[in-house]
Amino acid sequence: MNTAKPFLSYLQKFVNLTDAEFEQLLMPVIKFRNFAKKELLTKAGDVENHFNFIIQGLIRKYYTKGSLEINTQISTEGHIIHCQESYHSRLPSEYSIEAIEPSKVVSISYADLEEVFAASKKMEHLGRLVITSTMVLKDRWQIQMVKMTPRERFLNFVTKNPEMMQRVPQKFLASYLNFKPETFSRFNHLLKGHVRAVHSL
């Protein structure tokens, strides 16, 4: 229960969920899973069977294009990461999910989560709010990718996620923000000036 606490706190942002309800409705279906650095949570070609919430660590989601790996998500503690499209459609995933750091996640299987929804209207409500919130994130990301210049995307990202610059290898961040690794290095210079500017505020 204590280990799952960050997950409960996350859900409480959406509904008023008590410790007892969490204990009764969700704890029975929650599994804790640990992954070593570079271990796969889900492999492309497999059907995604889990909903995952990151308790600790750093995880990426990617697909391969020729010999390249393109990252579509890089997430830390407090975020959801799984192959949603495969999870919901029950078809093989086009994406893989890999731990960048040793990671611990809370996982719920597809069948279990469907039962949770069927058994409780409150959980169904919660499920809708969580999917709504991920929908909004995806919509904003899509708009950002179209509307912002690479330079704006870079500055926006590092301002909002300063710790990611330390934790994530640059080659992963470059494909995630959709620019070439060399462009990323060039932007790094920009960052030094930017950090100075922020500190002088």
């Binding site: 499209e85 909004v136 919509d139």
Partner: protein
Amino acid sequence: MNNPIQKVTTRSLEFITEYLQRYMQMTKDEVELLLQYCELRYFDKKEIILKEGETDNYFSMVVSGLVRKYIRVKKNEVILQLATEGHMVHSETSFLTRTPSLVELETLEPTTILSIRYDLMQEALAKYPNGERLGRLILTRMYIKKDERKHDRAAKTMKERFLEYVTNHPHMLQRVPQKYLASYLNIKPETFSRLKHLVKEKK
């Protein structure tokens, strides 16, 4: 209360029922009950449904016609969606978070849209049996569609995107101006013309 059912033809009622039954079992009566919360909106060709900066008050589905969703980037417009019969079209973030929209919606044909207003949707979700479930399933489906499209746009070559789209949506070449299709598929207009030859030769 505005009762759209009187205005909904039998055909569109069947269309809507069939659509909703993809998500869960619903009787005609249940669909009619749900429609009490909805309204039909009619637009001419080239009419703006939603402007940038406005908050989208409606969660909408196209019953007939064609709507484009786009975003202004400097002097250009980038098409994000071309919605026809049965497609959901609105500014998702604006509607769901009650904030000004960054995208605009415009009809390309005379269009009928079935919409549910934000406040009435909250009421329907709470009161309608299985409302929460239906809401969750529709949003999930939309989410997957959005993700698939994002993936296609990034992972597929221009030629693949073009051929797949015209194969799956042959009627769209007739219905949508080429410049819009090109923008939607992220292909330069001149390249798009060249790719069109490819389809003709194949026939």
